[in-house]
């Protein structure tokens, strides 16, 4: 075993350690990261450390990003939100019930085995059990099978117009194609075999959970010929190696990119931008114009937010400008936006968000509260203390709610406690909660099909558990809508309904700038940071 | 008594101290620690410096060595001349060169004066390393040679030993070897035998005399013990409060002291002649010990140590109003016996009867009612009173425990203080406001407050200067007469035992080797060990108090 070898090694040196401790330190083996000579390596600092390697079991962004590195997908959405062929081309039957996918030639897994239709079917099925959009499709699926090595036939019971959009979606859980043996892992269990199908190979030996992960170019990957656009198009890898390292400290990352120790910083805290602006070697840019939506979610199960009027009062008290101003500060990087599907997306509509986008209406909120007969029940507001992008919202909201007359009990906790506690349906005083805040990437909420907050199925819904039959009807109508125009119509209804019922409070949109060394060129603008197409100068 | 009588009138001097004044650093107003001290030491001469604690003896010797504690004491005046150089004016390097080559010093505590982590051979060798350049082989030869000269056994083994593996006497021999290896002109011996048993003391004194003879070294010997002075001195200087009050050849001084202080000092020395025996009292036995045994150590899961028999088969009894002395050298088991009797340690076997009650096997709780019958006074007056408690509070602690009313106890405490010769307002004062002798009086008063039948005095006067010692002994005697207490007096000092005991028990290696009346033990010792003890007592043929030879009865 490795540790024992090292210990042995160590003992040997201790015996002869007459040259002094310093020499001893020099000789004791550390984890040597052997880098091939002259290899072109991009060292990137991502937004968090990679710890979970199964992109289907988790919705964590870093794991999704990891998924795109080592796996490919059948269909991918391009920058115009249009599904494009990636591993497979497709045909749809006239009745919109049978989708036939055909895998393109030359697809190979990292263990040299060819990618077959059976692999794709297994991968899709596992994904379908885990992803909420996938679940909707499988609800109407008649059958999904591999007709031959290259052909996949997906037969539906009733039409599902958004099937291709859902299969090709970028976030949160895309259907990554894995070998059948891997994809047959139960969806609750994490996979342990990381043989991928994508343009990069995961280097297992150099993986240190939460610290660093290395990807090597997969030489046998055959890219498509179209130019790359979001997740679609040709994934041409132009470097030998990509290394993701974690830096727990925002300051450290900035200093590291300034001194050239790293090439890429996925997220730069906006307050720290001035540190980078003077540098001639580093470019700061917004990779993803859509960015993130920050939201507040109330608990429908317990007073006072089981009362619609009080929810409305809370929504009325809040001001996006205050939240974003405190969270981001620099107006270049945030956007007041009342659309629940995110501004800049096809379904965007800002109906019903006037108070949110115009600085809040404390007086109106007070009046509503009075009408609703709010009795001063304390509101348990959960405040995560260890996630930088979530520190400001609770603090600002607490102040606004107090101004409106709410009795706010802000309870600080670490993010882990929060995610556990938000799953509790207990009364707020007994370990439950009333309101919390989180952030979504816009592509995760840009459609009623995928936005988790719009689920109105009571206990089966997302945390907060609204029972909202009207919303379910609207969502069904959306699924049934077969033209973009009809979809948009339903979407506007959903927007209005959400703002009335306050299923959740959109608190505005913000962009997260990235910093890259000027040695890196041709990076694709995309919500997911991708490392194909990038070139690195010497 | 044979004194040294050699005349040094025409012998060249080695060291001359003239008008040496030492003061507290940075404090010119306080009285000087040494006030114009002058003394002269000539080749081969032994000069004794005597005085009670705080008289400035040690400061004198440290001044000569240039080892006054930095920043605390400074020599502000006078000269110390050696080879026509004033030592006070030498730089640190020059002074270091003088040490061990010209002047050497040995100290009181052989236990602490040797570095515990360096082999003794190396410690002696270090003197050679510092002052000479000898090849290793020759160096070792010289070290072994001096070790032979100081009569150490098995020198090869001892050369490689650490100090803790040697006995006190052996360590002091190492110190002497270290001091004399470079044949200095002057040896300063600062109470070199005070911490040693009498038998060892005798050997060390004769060793110093022998070496002085062979090397012609002058010796400045500092001591508080008049017996030692009588044995070894050529010339005696008496010090008091930083001044030399009198100096004279030894015989002159002991026969014809001129100063009142010298007379007092001599008169305080207890005589080895037992006091007049007292009549056996009619009252019965108040303490009897039979078959007492105490074994230490011996258990433990992984340890297999030889058990130590600190006391075995100890039998004696004391009657009311009588004093029994237990005499022995360190490690003889005398203190163990005292602690067993007090039940501060639990005896392994045997009976202890106090006030007609067997107490050896009572539990701590059962024992408490019987505590009042037997009380103890400890050796160290600085530690035997709680420094945080007023004298009064210490005095009433015991009476309150046996249910005495607080007011009554306080009143009694004031009376007791008067009884032991302290002002009765001392009740409200704290121990640190009293001298050692006074504290020992308080400790006695505290014991007496319980109105015990037996008082155990465990080396109760050993830490006191002779004049104070005499007063405390008188106090004990007086109390015994007034209250009729029985006293168990534990001491290593035969002179003290002779003055206070009716009976004496001599202990060696945890056993009683002789038990008889004081007169018999001292005048007609039966056991060879007792005889050795008595013979080793320095100055035993001299009657200091009367300035004459001892008149054998």
């Amino acid at each position: 075993m490795r540790i024992q070898e090292r210990l042995h090694h160590f003992k040997g040196h201790m015996r002869g350690a007459t040259l002094g401790l310093l020499a001893g330190v020099a000789l004791i083996g550390g984890t040597a990261l052997a880098t091939p000579a002259m290899a072109k390596t991009i060292t990137a600092v991502m937004h968090s450390g990679l710890r979970v390697l199964d992109p289907v079991i988790t919705t964590a962004h870093i794991t999704r990003d990891h998924g795109y590195m080592i796996y490919d997908v059948l269909v991918a959405v391009d920058e115009n939100f249009k599904p494009q062929p990636q591993m497979a081309d497709w045909t749809v039957s006239d009745d919109n019930l049978v989708y036939t996918f055909t895998l393109r030639d030359g697809l190979k897994f990292h263990d040299d085995a060819p990618v077959t239709a059976a692999d794709a079917v297994a991968s899709l099925k596992r994904w379908g059990k885990r992803d909420s959009g996938g679940q909707l499709i499988f609800d109407v699926t008649e059958s999904l099978e591999a007709k031959d090595d290259k052909t996949i036939v997906w037969t539906l019971k009733s039409p599902f117009p958004a099937l291709l959009d859902t299969v090709g979606k970028q976030s949160a859980v895309p259907p990554f194609i894995m070998p059948e043996r891997v994809a047959s892992t139960p969806p609750e269990e994490a996979i342990t075999d990381y043989t991928g199908s994508g343009p990069f190979v995961f280097v297992e030996d150099e993986y240190q959970p939460g610290v660093s992960v290395t990807y090597r170019k997969f030489e046998d990957y055959v890219p498509r010929s179209e130019p790359a656009s979001w997740m679609a198009g040709g994934k041409n890898v132009k470097v030998d190696e990509v290394k993701w390292v974690t830096m727990p400290d925002a300051q450290t990352g900035i200093n590291a990119i300034l001194s050239g120790e790293i090439d890429y910083l996925e997220q730069v805290q906006i307050d720290l931008l001035p540190l980078l602006e003077t540098s001639e070697d580093v470019t700061v840019e917004t990779r993803d114009e859509l960015g993130y939506q920050t939201i507040g979610r109330m608990n429908f199960k317990h007073p006072p937010f089981d009362n619609k009027k009080i929810r409305q009062a809370a929504q009325m008290a809040l001001s996006q400008e205050d939240v974003l101003g405190t969270l981001i500060g620099n107006p270049d990087y945030y956007k007041v936006c009342g659309a629940i599907f995110g501004c800049g997306t096809p379904l965007a509509d800002e109906s019903g968000s006037q108070t949110l986008t115009s600085g809040g209406d404390i007086e109106g909120a007070k009046k509503l509260l009075e009408e609703a007969g709010y009795d001063g029940t304390p509101i348990v507001l959960m405040q995560p203390t260890d996630v930088v992008s979530l520190t400001a919202q609770p603090v600002v909201a607490a102040q606004a709610l107090r101004n409106a007359g709410f009795n706010v009990d802000m309870q600080p906790m670490d993010w882990q406690t929060l995610v556990t506690r938000r799953a509790s349906q207990a009364k707020p005083a007994e370990g439950g909660w009333n309101i919390f805040f989180t952030n979504w990437m816009v592509p995760e909420i840009n459609s009623p099909l995928i936005s988790p907050m719009l689920n109105g199925r009571g206990d089966d819904a997302w945390f907060g558990w609204p029972k909202d039959d009207k919303m379910e009807e609207l969502r069904a109508a959306f699924i049934a809508a077969d033209t973009p125009e009809k979809q948009k119509e339903v979407a506007v209804e959903i927007q209005k309904h959400n703002m009335d019922e306050v299923l959740y409070i959109p608190l505005g949109q913000y962009a997260s700038p990235q910093a890259r060394s000027n040695k890196l060129t041709n990076m694709i603008p995309s919500p997911v940071p991708v490392f194909w197409n990038i070139e690195k100068a010497d | 008594m044979k004194f040294k009588t050699r005349s040094f009138d025409d012998v060249p001097g080695v060291l001359e101290v003239r008008d040496l004044t030492v003061r507290l650093a940075g404090n010119d107003t306080a009285p000087p620690v040494l006030d114009r001290v002058s003394l002269k030491i000539r080749q081969g001469e032994t000069v004794c410096l005597v005085g009670e604690s705080g008289s400035g003896k040690s400061v004198t010797s440290l001044s000569i060595m240039g080892l006054l504690p930095k920043g605390a004491l400074v020599a502000t005046g006078g000269r110390i001349e050696l080879e026509n150089r004033n030592l006070l004016e030498l730089g640190p390097q020059a002074m270091r060169d003088m040490r061990a080559r010209k002047i050497s010093m040995i100290f009181q505590e052989p236990m602490t004066a040797l570095n515990p982590v360096i082999r003794v051979g190396d410690q002696i060798g270090e003197v050679l390393d510092t002052h000479t350049r000898l090849p290793a082989r020759e160096k070792k030869a010289r070290v072994l040679d001096i070790m032979n000269q100081v009569h150490l056994p098995d020198v090869e083994r001892i050369y490689r030993s650490y100090p803790h593996q040697l006995s006190g006497g052996q360590r002091q021999r190492i110190m002497i070897a270290m001091a004399l290896i470079l044949e200095p002109q002057l040896l300063i011996a600062d109470e070199p035998t005070t911490a040693l048993d009498v038998t060892t003391q005798k050997q060390i004194l004769s060793l110093i005399a022998e070496l002085q003879e062979t090397h012609g070294t002058a010796v400045l010997f500092i001591t508080h013990d008049m017996g030692v002075v009588a044995e070894i001195a050529d010339t005696v200087h008496v010090m008091k409060l930083g001044q030399i009050v009198e100096h004279a050849p030894v015989e002159d001084l002991l026969r014809r002291p001129r100063q009142e202080y010298t007379k007092q000092l001599l008169q305080s020395v207890p005589s080895l002649t037992p006091r007049a025996p007292r009549a056996m009292s009619a009252d019965g036995t108040v303490l009897s010990v039979s078959g007492l045994q105490k074994v230490y150590g011996a258990h433990g899961v992984f340890v297999r140590r030889e058990p130590t028999r600190a006391a075995s088969d100890v039998n004696f009894s004391i009657s009311r109003g009588r004093t029994l002395g237990i005499v022995g050298e360190s490690g003889s088991g005398k203190s163990t016996v005292a602690r067993c009797i007090m039940r501060l340690v639990d005896p392994t076997d045997g009976d202890i009867r106090v006030a007609d009650q067997e107490i050896a096997r009572l539990s701590r709780r059962e024992l408490r009612p019987y505590r009042k019958h037997i009380q103890i006074v400890f050796q160290d007056p600085f530690r035997s009173l709680n420094p945080r408690w007023t004298i009064g509070r210490s005095l009433i602690e015991g009476p309150l425990n046996i249910g005495t009313d607080k007011q009554a106890a306080l009143k009694r405490a004031a009376e007791l203080l008067t009884l032991v010769g302290l002002p009765d307002d001392a009740v409200n004062r704290y121990p640190h406001q009293f001298s050692g002798g006074q504290r020992q009086r308080v400790a006695i008063a505290r014991a007496i407050a319980m109105e015990p039948d037996v008082l155990v005095a465990d080396e109760a006067v050993s830490a006191l200067d002779v004049s104070v010692q005499a007063q405390v002994l008188d106090l004990l005697d007086e109390l015994q007469q007034k209250l009729g207490i029985a006293i168990l007096f534990i001491t290593h000092d035969l002179r003290v035992a002779a003055q206070i005991c009716d009976e004496v028990v001599v202990m060696q290696h945890g056993r009683i080797v002789e038990h008889d009346t004081a007169a018999n033990v001292l005048a007609n010792p039966q056991h060879p060990y007792t005889r050795a003890l008595i013979e080793a007592a320095p100055g035993r043929q001299w009657d200091f108090a009367n300035f004459r030879e001892l008149q054998t009865a």
Binding site: G30, Q208, V211, N255, Q416, T420, R421 | R99, F107
Partner: protein, 313 residues
């Protein structure tokens, strides 16, 4: 001696057992759910429950403890709940940066602090003494991370002498290792130096008052010999003790320093694991550090016999 070692090792067993039970209970009573971390933001309660069951977190507490203890007995610390990597492997990857930096820090600290303390004791109540004491009090008074930032600002950003962050194994080149390790080591060493220098000074002051020092001086021995041959070795036992107990302090400092300098060591591993409720990793790490603490202090106890021949076990 052997008997003593055996007894000491046996005495370690109840200590480690108490640590194990304590840590286990502490963690399981902590709110927080590793399943939620694995599943991510969009998971539903039912999905969480399924993941929890598959991780064995739904079993009763004592079953979980026994399962863990049984594996532990076989030298298996379990598998990370989050990354599904064996804990021993994670620790194996992460321990070397910490170990190397800790060793370098201790070496550096002892080399700086002991002479400082000796000097201060020797020149007791002079400006040298006051300077050393001032430094050592200051070392205790500034938070580690502030010291770290100050070093980075000064040496990496203003002077550009050293890299701002990261770690390189000695096998990648000693110069490279040193250039990255020196600032974290200095940062960590500040408090350690303060601690050791204080203790050295106090211990030396006591020893310098001993009779055998006077004896040595009476022999005419040079002051340097008095200080280093006679005094220091006698003063060594409390100094060694403080180095041992200071190890706990070092662990605390390591946690912070690794964050500031971005060193992939076990300190960060533990903090990350605590924040993610990755129970097996936390348990393994606390057991490891506690065991290390006990082991180091055992070694230090044994080292006393080297410094002081009177101590025999």
């Amino acid at each position: 001696m052997l008997g003593y070692i055996i007894r000491r090792i046996l005495a370690v067993i109840p200590v480690m057992l108490i640590v194990a039970i304590f840590v286990f209970l502490l963690l399981r009573l902590t709110p927080g759910d590793p399943a939620a971390i694995i599943a991510g933001d969009a998971a539903t309660p039912a999905q969480l429950e399924r993941i929890r069951t598959s991780l064995g977190l739904a079993d009763p507490l004592h079953i979980q403890f026994l399962t863990w203890a049984k594996l532990l007995f076989q030298g298996d610390l379990g598998t990370s709940l989050i990354s599904r990597t064996p804990v021993t492997q994670m620790i194996g990857q992460r321990i070397w940066p910490t170990f190397n930096i800790a060793i370098l820090t201790i070496a550096l600290s002892v080399l700086i602090a002991v002479p400082m303390g000796v000097l201060a004791a020797w020149r007791h109540r002079t400006w040298v003494d006051y300077l050393v004491m001032a430094f050592s009090v200051l070392g205790f008074s500034i938070p580690v991370f502030v010291i770290g930032y100050l070093f980075i600002q000064a040496f990496s950003i203003e002077l550009r002498w050293l890299p701002v962050q990261g770690y390189a194994a000695p096998s990648e080149g000693f110069g490279k290792f040193l250039s990255r390790a020196i600032l974290p080591c200095l940062t960590l060493a500040t408090i350690y130096v303060a601690l050791i220098a204080r203790m050295t000074r106090a211990s030396m002051l006591e020893v310098l008052g001993e009779d055998y020092i006077r004896t040595a001086r009476a022999k005419g021995v040079k002051e340097t010999v008095v200080l280093f041959r006679h005094a220091l070795r006698n003063a060594a036992v409390p100094i060694m003790t403080i180095i041992g107990t200071g190890f706990a302090l070092l662990i605390g400092g390591v946690v912070v320093t690794e964050s500031v300098f971005n060193i992939p060591g076990i300190g960060r591993l533990t903090v990350d694991a605590i924040l993610a409720r990755d129970y097996p990793v936390i348990q393994g790490m606390i057991l490891l550090t506690s065991g290390l603490y006990v082991f180091i202090n055992l070694l230090i106890d044994l080292s006393y016999t080297f410094f002081d021949p009177r101590i025999r076990y």
